[in-house]
């Protein structure tokens, strides 16, 4: 993390600080405590639809404020205000006071202290700041590069139709409270999503690939319009898979019945987020909606996984699993309550050892906050994941190559990619984009059609046997908990080997 002195200052900082200070003074005259977070996002983006319609939006601006009023007896209310001016904020506070008056006492409510309360500045300055440097040439170059890749993959029989969605946004955040805390953060985030649709007559197949990271689009395409080698390679590979999928087949009933192992590529680890992450969010635990941790915070399932399972949420790790503070699509330096983000070890040695906390849940469970309290543009702050990753300890269970990992597998399937997942109390479901059949410890060359991977939370990690390749937060996505979207990733080693069990299931479309 940058030193406080090096961190950039948000634009219009003085005006925002003045408005927040005045609003909090207004609140403090009426309640014992209040805090506020104001988020402002400048975004430039390009959409290219399957129709070929291209939309370049060099400047979208959005922002909102969330104010929390804490009254006597633990009563509390949150209010979203659309503008960060004093009049709007004070009107919002006054409306919130009406709601606060209707709240019953909540003696268990409290907010854990904000660590390091005097540090003010966090973040990283944008390169080629899109507020100052016209991003249009880079956005258009990205669209042309994707078009060219699609054209290069088309043949007389097969048309490859690309879709592109890419953006870069500068996120500015202010957090302040009536105790004098004042913190800001500036982050730039870049995101690229490409869908390749392969069309041959009536048949269609598709793959989707995403990239997302702290920093701007310059990490994916340079000023001259050349894709980075890594991005170009992965896009071309996924384009070719889309074409191959036109001839893919589902696993037969006999194959499904005989499967001994699933091998999940790092792009297919959404179940770590959906099935294991959400049930260890302290607000879900407290509400009674976790199947693996009771409302009092005691694990209901122990062990949750095999002894080689370790899951950490925080900044994205390097290949060895060590967190790197400025890496990861889900990364921030402070959460929306002003708490510095720190890694939260959730599962170690197969046992649940921790939870993700906001200030409120940290107080209720008597622990330190972990920097997981986030909101979407003025919404209520709730416990959210950041980068949630399988980070195993080194050992014989962690090998270098896929070939080593497949050894001993009688009949299995290597699953790649997901178009999304969803979670229920008991388990999760995620689509798989494609797979490769494994027989007698080796890939057969058969490509397997898209399917649906389901996992029951209470047992799906019990048969994790081994890993291959470095850790990577490859699963770039958007979590929709509580109808609030938040950028997140999930990840792990390049491949995760899972024994077949009653806890996991793979099915195919009808």
């Amino acid at each position: 993390m940058l030193n406080s002195d090096d961190a950039p200052v948000p634009r219009n900082d003085a005006a925002v600080r003045s408005a927040l200070t005045a609003a909090l003074r207004h609140a403090r005259a009426r309640v014992p405590y209040a805090d506020a977070v104001y988020e402002r996002v400048f975004k430039c983006e390009v959409h290219q639809l399957a129709s070929g319609q291209r939309m370049v939006k060099p400047a979208s601006v959005k922002g909102a404020v969330q104010i929390r009023l804490v009254g006597e007896g633990g009563r509390q209310v949150g209010i979203k205000a659309g503008d960060a001016n004093v009049e709007t904020l004070c009107a919002a506070i006054d409306r919130g006071l009406d709601a606060l008056a209707a709240e019953p006492d909540d003696p268990g409510f409290g907010l854990a202290p904000i660590p390091n309360p005097t540090r003010e500045r966090y973040g990283m300055a944008p390169k080629d700041d899109p507020r100052d440097v016209d991003p249009t040439p880079r956005l258009e170059a990205l669209a042309r590069a994707v078009d060219a890749l699609a054209a290069a993959g088309s043949t007389d029989d097969v048309r490859v139709v690309p879709e592109l969605w890419a953006w870069e946004q500068v996120e500015e955040k202010w957090v302040a409270d009536t105790d004098g805390v004042f913190k800001t953060q500036v982050m730039t985030i870049g995101f690229v999503q490409v869908v390749f649709r392969a069309v041959r007559g009536e048949r269609q197949a598709r793959t989707r690939v995403r990239f997302g990271e702290v920093g701007g689009l310059e990490q994916y395409i340079d000023a001259a319009g050349a894709l980075s080698p890594t991005v170009a390679h992965e896009l071309a590979a996924e384009r070719d898979v889309a074409v191959r999928l036109l001839d893919a087949r589902p696993l037969t009933a006999d194959e499904l019945a005989g499967i001994t192992h699933y091998v999940l590529h790092k792009s297919a680890l959404v179940f770590i987020h959906e099935g294991l992450g959400h049930p260890i969010e302290a607000d879900i635990v407290r509400s009674g909606n976790s199947a693996i941790v009771g409302p009092g915070g005691v694990a209901l399932v122990s062990p949750l996984g095999s002894s080689v399972v370790r899951i950490v949420d925080g900044a994205a790790p390097d290949g060895e699993g060590t967190p790197v503070p400025h890496r990861g699509f889900g990364t921030e330096f402070i959460d929306d309550e002003g708490v510095e983000v720190r890694p939260a070890e959730l599962v170690a040695g197969g046992h649940i050892v921790g939870m993700m906390h906001s200030r409120e849940t940290a107080h209720r469970f008597g622990v330190a906050p972990t920097g997981n309290g986030f909101s979407e543009l003025g919404d209520r702050r709730i416990v959210r994941m950041r980068n949630t990753v399988l980070c195993p300890e080194r050992g014989e269970h962690w090998v270098e190559s896929l070939g080593e990992l497949l050894g001993g597998i009688g009949l299995g399937v290597v699953l790649h990619g997901s178009l999304g997942g969803a979670v229920s109390k008991e388990g999760m479901s995620s689509s798989t984009q494609y797979g490769y059949l494994v027989r007698d410890g080796a890939l057969t060359g058969d490509i397997i059609a898209p399917g649906n991977f389901t996992a029951l939370t209470a047992g799906c990690l019990k048969t994790v046997e081994a890993y291959a390749g470095p850790v990577d937060c490859h699963g770039v996505g958007f979590c929709g908990k509580g109808s609030q979207l938040r950028r997140v990733t999930e990840g792990g080693p390049t491949f995760v080997r899972l024994g077949a069990s009653a806890w996991v299931n793979l099915t195919f479309e009808g």
Binding site: H47, L49, S51, Q53, R54, M55, V56, K57, P58, A59, S60, V61, K62, G63, V77, G78, K80, G82, D83, T88, A91, A92, R95, G96, D98, A99, A102, T136, E140, W165, R197, E202, Q204, R206, R286, S287, N289, P295, L377, G378, R380, L419, G420, G421, A422, S424, K425, E426, G427, S429, S430, S431, N452, T454, F478, L485, T507, F508, E509, G510
Partner: protein, 452 residues
């Protein structure tokens, strides 16, 4: 409280100010402004958590210059921010088939979609809280011996809108929303939604009937059906709506046809003869109906499917121009492609209020013998939009014996696989009862699904 006149004046002023600011450098401009307030109470277990929203602004803008289209969006009430974003967007404008924006006609706010009682509740959060509590209390009272894990909430909101283009009047509209959702044990759920204020009677009934309607016993696929098999199931109206919007739209949206992603054509047989579908973008008292769509086209009622035969595709202004050289059906909506606000999203073809006429058979008698009613599937958004195929875990459903609920479907133990387009063509029953979901009026239907 924000008065109606003050609110309308504020959204009109912003829309017209942005239009004026860019008029001299554009051929045409379209500005859509929303201003919204909301009071919600979220149920998380025993907790009831207030969420208030005051003066949330959204400004969605498009402009044309020299045959190119520029797009921008902002939140906030700042004319400078909005006009500045649109002026910057002009430098990035792209060639586009859309030749102009709608010429808007003076359309006085007609009160459709607005409920004074709902609007007033936003200034009485204690009343909203009491209603949310009564819904949860009713659920708990219906099962006095058990500790139910409840989640859900109650929301009331009001929104004022103004839309202006370079030609014609500024169209003003306003709407309210009242909605409630309740889920028990993370699986079974029920909801109500509409433009009217929720009533205590309705909310208590929702809470009570959700619990009372659940048999105590739960079954697996093996226990109920003897193992995986294809059976004729009852599709709940809420699941039917999800599948229509997620999968059937991909077939009947003219922009999808123009893109080559659908080969649907008027006259195609897309459903069983017992199935008809109406799309009504102007439906009164619906959260999916309005005076105009997001491109300023007046809401219309269209028969999309008549006795199984496709009668019209749904169009926005661009696809109508490209494919028909003619008029939009009023189905141009800003539909988020992924993680974006609606005001940022491109205009695409969407559905309005969906209306499927009722059949003659009581839903209890649609499927004799052993079957299930499916309320929801987990992750419908990940279904295959190209083919209509889906393959998802069941989230909410009940086992039926000759139409009578006898057991819950064990959570996490059921999956449903099928192809929605095939299902529509092979529907074997449409119920006499319909449910108003807030955005659709739909019956229960009987269709084949593989359960595993």
């Amino acid at each position: 409280m924000t008065s109606m006149n003050t609110a309308f004046a504020s959204v009109r002023a912003l829309a017209e100010a942005v239009r004026a600011r860019v008029a001299h450098v554009t051929d045409d401009v379209e500005v859509r402004v929303e201003r919204a307030d909301q009071v919600a109470y979220v149920i998380e277990g025993r907790a009831l958590i207030p969420e208030l929203e005051c003066d949330a602004w959204r400004v969605a803008m498009r402009a044309r210059r020299g045959g190119r289209l520029a797009i921008a969006a902002t939140t906030g009430s700042s004319v400078d921010d909005a006009a500045g974003a649109l002026l910057r967007a002009l430098s990035a404008a792209q060639p586009d088939a859309l030749e102009d924006f709608a010429a808007l006609h003076e359309t006085p706010p007609d009160g459709r979609g607005w409920d004074d009682a709902a609007a007033a509740m936003i200034d009485r959060p204690a009343q909203v809280r009491a209603l949310a509590a009564s819904m949860a209390d009713a659920a708990r009272a219906a099962s006095p011996g058990a500790e139910l894990v409840l989640e859900g909430g109650l929301k009331v909101g009001r929104t004022w809108r103004a839309m202006a283009t370079a030609r014609g009047a500024t169209v003003l509209s306003a709407s309210t929303v009242g909605s409630a959702f309740l889920m028990v044990d993370g699986n079974e759920w029920d909801s109500l939604a509409g433009t009217a204020a929720p009533t205590e009677h309705g909310l208590r009934a929702l809470g009570r009937e959700l619990i009372v309607g659940l048999p105590p016993r739960e079954v697996t696929v093996a226990e109920w059906l003897g193992g995986p098999k294809e059976v004729t199931v009852l599709i709940d109206p809420r699941l039917l709506e999800s599948l229509l919007r997620a999968l059937f739209l991909e077939r009947v949206g003219l922009d999808r046809v123009v893109s080559g992603l659908s080969n649907a054509a008027v006259g195609d047989v897309v459903g069983a003869p017992i199935f008809s579908l109406v799309d009504d973008t102007g439906a009164a008292a619906s959260l999916a109906g309005g005076v105009i769509d997001h491109e300023g086209v007046i809401g219309q009622r269209k028969t999309v499917v008549e006795r199984g035969v496709l009668r019209t595709l749904l169009a926005d202004r661009r696809s109508a121009k490209v494919a028909w050289g003619g008029a939009s059906t009023g189905n141009g909506f800003r539909l988020p492609l992924m993680a974006e606000d609606a005001s940022e999203a491109p205009v695409r073809v969407g559905m309005g209020h969906l209306d499927v006429p009722a059949g003659n058979t009581p839903r209890m008698k649609l499927v004799p013998g052993r079957t299930v009613v499916l309320t929801d599937l987990l992750g419908v958004h990940s279904a295959n939009r190209s083919t209509g195929a889906f393959n998802n875990p069941v989230q909410g459903g009940v086992a039926l014996e000759d139409g009578v609920p006898v057991a819950r479907l064990k959570a996490g133990a059921w999956s449903a696989t099928g192809n929605f387009h095939t299902m529509l063509r092979t529907l074997s029953g449409v119920s006499a009862e319909r449910l108003h979901t807030g955005t659709a009026s739909l019956p229960w239907v009987a269709a084949p699904v593989r359960l595993s």
